[in-house]
C-alpha cells in the first residue's frame, strides 16, 4: 500500500501524550485560529464576501416580512432563481466528490492531492444548496416539520424527503472524512484507513445519489413535459462531471498561486481529461433532448420553442439559453484545441470558466423556468428574477465561498502532507518516469513550482 498521507510532526506538540478529551478542544481552538488568521488579501476578501452575504441576508429578511411577492415568481412560474441555483449547486457538490473516483478506483496518485479539496468543496456546495432551499421556503419558521420523528416526514413517497436524506447524509459523510483527516494531521498521526476509506467510497456512491434524486424531483412530475424525461438524471450526472472538474482545476491553480500549496499538475491534467469528455457527453444528451422534443412536436416542443426562440412574442429566456449553449460549445471547442492540449493554461482556464457558466445557465435558469412555461394550462407567463432574488442569490454564494475558503485554509496542512508524500514517492520510484511527462506541459506553462511551504 502506498502511503496516502505522510506522517508529519504534529501541529500540537502535546497532542500525542494526551487523551482526545484534552486534545480535541485544543484542536477546535487551533481550527478557529487557523480559520481566522491570514494576510491582508485574506481579510480583504473575507470582508468583501461578508458584505455581500449580509446584503443577501437583509434581502431575505425583507422577503420574509413582505412575502415572496417581491420576487419575480408567480403561481405560473412558482420556482425561479433559487431553485435554479440549488439544482446547479447539487451538481457542483456531486461533481466535487466524483473527482475522488480516480484517486481510489484507479489508484491515481496525482489525485490524492485533491481528495480533501473535493470533500471541502462538497461541504461548501451542500451548505449553499441547503440555503437556497431555505430562502425559497415560504415558511422557514416551520422547518422543523420536515425533521423525521419531530415533524411529519412524508417518506418514501415524496422525492423531496429523499433529497433531504441524501443531501444531509452527504454533508455528514464529507464532514467526517475532511474532519478526520484534518484532526489526524493535527495530532501528527497517519490517518487510519479504516476510518476514512470506507467513507470516501460511500461518498462517491452518495454523490451519484444526490444528483440522481435531485433529477427525480423534476423528472417524476408527469404534468411537466419538459422535465418528465428519463434522460434528466444522466444529464445531471454528466453536467456534474463538468462543473466539478472545471471548478477544481481553477481552484487548484488559485491554491498554488495564493495558498502556497504545491498542488501537482498531474491532478489538473487528469481533471482536464475528464472535462474534455464530459462536455461532449453533455452536449450530446442536450441535443438528443432537443431532437425528441422538436421532431415529435406537441407540448414538449412548445416549451423548447419558447426556450430557444420565444413563443408568441415572449422571449425572456432566449438570451439565457443561447448564452448558455454558446458557452458550452465554446468550452468544448477550447478544451479540444491543439494549443490547449499542448499545455496552454490560459486557454484551459477560459474553457473552464466558460463551461462553469454554461452549465450554470443550462442546469439553472435553462432547466427550471421552461418547466413552467407554458404552464400546465398552456398559459404563457414569463419570469424575470427581481433585485431581491439576485441579492439573496449573491449572498448565498458569497457565504458558500467563505466556507470554502475557510475549509481550505484549515485543510492546508493535510494537503501539504499528502503532496509531500507523493513527491517523495515520485523521487524514489520514478525519477524521470513517463507518467510525469504529461503534467510537465502544464508545469512549463506555469513556470517553476514554488518550493516554500505553508
Amino acid at each position: 500500500m502506498r502511503p496516502l498521507f505522510k506522517t508529519l510532526p504534529p501541529l500540537d506538540p502535546n497532542a500525542e501524550k494526551e487523551s482526545p478529551v484534552l486534545s480535541y478542544p485544543r484542536f477546535l481552538i487551533h481550527v478557529i485560529s487557523r480559520a481566522t488568521d491570514g494576510g491582508f488579501r485574506f481579510y480583504a476578501l473575507m470582508t468583501l464576501l461578508t458584505a455581500v452575504a449580509l446584503v443577501g441576508a437583509n434581502a431575505w429578511a425583507n422577503q420574509l416580512k413582505d412575502g415572496m411577492a417581491i420576487t419575480g415568481m408567480t403561481d405560473h412560474v412558482s420556482w425561479g432563481l433559487y431553485i435554479a441555483n440549488f439544482t446547479f449547486g447539487v451538481g457542483l457538490a456531486a461533481g466535487a466528490v466524483m473527482m475522488v473516483i480516480p484517486a481510489y478506483l484507479y489508484r491515481s496518485r496525482d489525485m490524492y492531492d485533491v481528495v480533501i479539496v473535493g470533500e471541502i468543496l462538497a461541504i461548501a456546495a451542500i451548505i449553499v444548496c441547503t440555503l437556497f432551499i431555505s430562502v425559497d421556503m415560504g415558511r422557514p419558521d416551520r422547518l422543523w416539520h420536515i425533521i423525521p420523528g419531530l415533524g411529519r416526514f412524508n417518506w418514501p413517497i415524496s422525492m423531496l424527503t429523499w433529497d433531504v436524506i441524501v443531501l444531509n447524509g452527504y454533508l455528514v459523510i464529507n464532514l467526517h472524512v475532511a474532519g478526520y483527516l484534518i484532526y489526524m494531521r493535527f495530532l501528527g498521526r497517519r490517518p487510519d484507513k479504516r476510518w476514512y476509506v470506507p467513507f470516501v467510497f460511500l461518498s462517491i456512491f452518495w454523490a451519484v445519489s444526490i444528483h440522481t434524486v435531485t433529477a427525480f424531483l423534476y423528472s417524476g412530475l408527469g404534468g411537466r413535459p419538459f422535465w418528465n424525461s428519463a434522460l434528466l438524471a444522466p444529464r445531471f450526472i454528466a453536467s456534474a462531471f463538468i462543473t466539478g472538474p472545471v471548478f477544481v482545476i481553477l481552484l487548484l491553480q488559485a491554491l498554488r498561486k495564493f495558498g502556497n500549496v504545491r498542488v501537482g499538475f498531474g491532478a489538473i491534467t487528469r481533471l482536464y481529461r475528464i472535462a474534455k469528455i464530459t462536455v461532449l457527453v453533455n452536449l450530446f444528451m442536450f441535443g438528443s433532448e432537443l431532437f425528441t422534443a422538436l421532431y415529435s412536436g406537441g407540448a414538449h416542443a412548445s416549451t423548447v420553442q419558447y426556450l430557444f426562440f420565444g413563443l408568441h412574442g415572449n422571449t425572456a429566456l432566449v438570451p439565457w439559453i443561447w448564452t448558455g449553449l454558446g458557452l458550452n460549445i465554446a468550452s468544448a471547442l477550447l478544451l479540444h484545441l491543439p494549443a490547449t492540449r499542448a499545455g496552454n493554461i490560459y486557454l484551459l482556464n477560459i474553457a473552464c470558466i466558460a463551461a462553469f457558466c454554461g452549465v450554470w445557465i443550462e442546469k439553472g435558469m435553462g432547466l427550471i423556468i421552461p418547466g413552467f412555461v407554458p404552464s400546465t394550462l398552456h398559459e404563457i407567463v414569463e419570469y424575470q428574477p427581481t433585485l431581491t432574488e439576485w441579492r439573496i442569490t449573491a449572498g448565498v454564494w458569497a457565504f458558500g465561498f467563505m466556507i470554502l475558503l475557510i475549509g481550505l485554509k484549515i485543510a492546508q496542512p493535510v494537503m501539504t502532507g499528502a503532496i509531500r508524500a507523493r513527491e517523495e514517492e515520485d523521487k524514489e520510484n520514478n525519477p524521470e518516469g513517463r507518467r510525469r511527462r504529461v503534467s510537465e506541459r502544464f508545469t512549463e506553462a506555469f513556470g517553476a513550482a514554488p518550493d516554500k511551504e505553508v
Partner: protein, 301 residues
C-alpha cells in the same frame, strides 16, 4: 505573547463585533415579521394529531387573529367528512358561456386576496373544433360568448391519485375520506413542490398576506377551507367543504347562470351527479397522466 499577536487578536475581536452588529442590522426586518408569530402557532401540531380541545384552542386563536388583523368577527369551524359520501363534480361545456361568475363567487366565498383578484377557477376560452389548450386563452376581456369559441372552467380536479399529495414532504396536504384534497395552512412549509406537481394549475401560493376589507370577509369559515390563509403557504379549491359537508352546494355552482355545473355524492345512486355520469359521455382532463380526477366534463349534444 509578543505585541503583534495581541494586536491581531484585538483586531479579530473588533472584526467579529462589527460583523455581528452588521448581521443584526441586516436581519432587523425579521423583528416585524416575527411579531405576529406566537409560540402556540410555532408549536402547533399537525391537523390529524390535534385533540378536539387543541383544535378548539387553535380555532379560537385564529378567530382572534382575524379580529386583530382584519377587524372582523368570524366563525371558524372544523367540519369533518361524513360516512358514505364521496363528492363528484361535473361541468356541461355545451352550456358554459365563459362569464366567469363562478370564478368571482369563488373569490368572494373563499376570502381570496383582493389585490391579485385570486380565484381557484380559471376559465379557458377554447377554439371550436379543438381541444388543444395551447389555443386556449384564460385572459380574454371581450364580451362572451364569442363566436367560434367554447369555454372550459378549470379548478382543482380533486384527483383520486393526487400528485400534489404525493410530493408534499411534510404531509401538509392530503386526501380526505370524501375525496376532497385539503391543505393544513398551519403546517405547510411553503416549498411549492405541490404547485409544480399539479397538472391542472389548481394550486395557489400566498405570495403575500391576503388583503381583504373587513366588510367583504365571509365570516362563515372552516379550518381546512376558506379561513383567511397566512402568508407563505399553499391553498386550493376544497369543493367549498364548509358548505358541501353540511348539505349545501359549492359557491361556484350557485353562481352559475346557465346551470352548467352539477355537484353531488357519487355514492348516492339517486344523485344528479350519478345520473350525469351514467347518461352523458363524460371525460376527464389529462386522463393519460393517471391522476383519476373527480371532476368531469361533458358536452350535451
Amino acid at each position: 505573547m509578543s505585541e503583534k499577536p495581541k494586536r491581531r487578536v484585538a483586531l479579530k475581536v473588533l472584526g467579529a463585533t462589527l460583523g455581528a452588529g452588521a448581521f443584526a442590522r441586516a436581519m432587523a426586518p425579521l423583528a416585524s415579521w416575527s411579531k405576529d408569530l406566537s409560540m402556540g402557532e410555532f408549536l402547533q401540531k399537525h391537523y390529524s394529531e390535534m385533540t378536539p380541545d387543541e383544535m378548539n384552542t387553535v380555532m379560537r386563536r385564529l378567530e382572534s387573529n382575524t379580529k386583530r388583523d382584519y377587524g372582523r368577527d368570524v366563525n371558524i369551524r372544523d367540519i369533518r367528512p361524513s360516512e358514505g359520501v364521496e363528492f363528484g363534480y361535473a361541468l356541461n361545456l355545451s352550456v358554459c358561456i365563459g362569464c366567469r361568475k363562478c370564478a368571482e363567487a369563488c373569490h368572494n366565498e373563499n376570502n381570496h386576496d383582493r389585490r391579485t383578484n385570486n380565484s381557484y377557477i380559471r376559465v379557458l376560452e377554447m377554439e371550436q373544433g379543438s381541444f388543444d389548450m395551447e389555443k386556449g386563452n384564460a385572459t380574454y376581456t371581450h364580451a362572451v360568448p364569442a363566436a367560434g369559441k367554447y369555454y372550459m372552467p378549470v379548478q382543482c380536479q380533486q384527483c383520486s391519485n393526487p400528485p400534489c399529495v404525493n410530493v408534499c414532504p411534510v404531509q401538509a396536504t392530503w386526501k380526505e375520506p370524501d375525496g376532497i384534497v385539503v391543505v393544513d395552512y398551519n403546517w405547510c412549509i411553503g416549498c411549492r413542490y405541490c404547485e409544480a406537481a399539479c397538472p391542472y394549475h389548481a394550486r395557489r401560493f400566498n405570495w403575500t398576506k391576503p388583503e381583504i376589507p373587513a366588510e367583504e370577509i365571509n365570516p362563515d369559515q372552516a379550518y381546512l377551507s376558506n379561513r383567511i390563509r397566512p402568508q407563505g403557504v399553499m391553498e386550493k379549491c376544497t369543493f367549498c367543504l364548509h358548505r358541501t359537508r353540511e348539505g349545501r352546494l359549492p359557491a361556484c355552482l350557485e353562481a352559475c347562470p346557465t346551470g352548467a355545473r352539477v355537484f353531488g355524492n357519487m355514492l348516492d345512486p339517486n344523485s344528479e351527479i350519478r345520473w350525469v355520469l351514467a347518461n352523458k359521455r363524460v371525460f376527464v382532463l389529462k386522463e393519460d397522466l393517471g391522476t383519476d380526477p373527480r371532476f368531469f366534463y361533458f358536452f350535451d349534444e
